[in-house]
Amino acid sequence: MMAQDPDTSSTERLIAALSADVPPIPPRFIGRRIALGIAGGGVVSIGLVFALFGMRPDFPQAMFGFSFWMKWAYTLSLGLIAVAATVRLARPEGGSLRMLWPLALPILLLAALAIEEMIRTPMRDWLSMWLGGSWNRCPWRVLLLAVPIFLGLLWSFRKLAPTNLRAAGAAAGLAAGAWAATIYCLHCDEFAAVFVLTWYSLGILLATGLGALLGPRVLRW
């Protein structure tokens, strides 16, 4: 047998050490891991809503109303599309943010609803409909609630392998923002489509931007 140089034998030792610990990996590992991270962060965010803002007093009745489900349909569909993109960007082969184009569908649907609502409303009420009672708080609260979910996703990413860190950060921020907005609906009693379209989306956009900004630093491996 040929004498081995020290590099080669240290590589061989490394392989032996790595092969000593080979736990089985369940199928759809990335999706599970991301779902778990979002759920863990989401529990904290729900706790924050109860502690800081309180549940909307009319919650049981609101569950039967149109505006509650309009808001949830919007934020949930953004959340699902964002999770799909995050899963894809968590693989080393990656993907691009172009896979976020289905976001156009819920946004356009909500915009159509907003226009329809404005046509039915006298013009003098447009401003109060647009600003609601909480326009200046809503985006910041969504951003705040997105923080625990984003941290949960960072935990998920410790075992994942994004290679386009900025895009992966943006997708994770978008997912965190959309799920935070979904949770914020437990408190928020705004009902106008144009309010949701503007201020919810702004909060989600802030979370996305923050994710894109932090991605290259916090997602490195």
């Binding site: 240290s10 392989i15 990996i25």
Partner: protein, 177 residues
């Protein structure tokens, strides 16, 4: 020796199911592959074994991100490419690294050529410009700038010729299989 995609993939999926021996066989088979990959893309030799080891660790710790239904080599080279870029970034060296698709074509090309085909005969099927661009940059080891100067054409022309030529060759090699 070179292992086929099917072989590597079988070891990888067995490893994902918890088979430690298959996992070790996979990592061992990847060592020469990774050495070749990094050697072709780095100047000095001294960092290559470090990079190979870092990549083996990444393959081990991030193996959950491999999807059993997708090609294994694409995943492998994506991990290796990321390790290389990260390594160069830490050294504050800026070197353009090709996209994964281009890597797959080049690596597949070299594999096919070294194993069973005569390079000159293959290149003779291409246009003169493409053949020269590939010979200069991939066989003679010239940089794109040097190749462009030698052939008295633009750098982007060299890159395009290499890309198109490799793609044509890859298509032909696949046709031969």
């Amino acid at each position: 020796m070179r292992h086929s995609e099917a072989e590597l993939r079988a070891w990888m999926t067995a490893g994902l199911d918890g088979d430690a021996a298959a996992h070790a066989a996979l990592l061992r088979a990847l060592v020469p592959l990774l050495r070749g990959f990094f050697r072709r893309r780095m100047r000095g030799d001294e960092d290559i074994e470090d990079l190979v080891q870092e990549t083996l660790i990444a393959i081990h710790t991030k193996r959950g991100t491999y999807d059993r239904d997708r090609p294994f080599t694409a995943w492998l080279y994506a991990v290796a490419r990321y390790r290389l870029i990260d390594h160069l970034r830490r050294r504050r060296v800026s070197v353009p690294i090709e996209e994964v698709e281009a890597i797959l074509i080049t690596e597949g090309f070299e594999e096919a050529v070294t194993s069973r085909l005569d390079i000159e005969r293959l290149l003779s099927g291409l246009s003169g410009k493409q053949a020269r661009a590939i010979r200069d940059t991939h066989l003679e080891g010239l940089s794109v700038a040097e190749a462009a100067e030698g052939a008295r054409i633009g750098q982007s022309d060299v890159k395009v010729s290499v890309h198109r030529g490799l793609k044509a060759l890859a298509a032909r090699l696949r046709g031969h299989e």
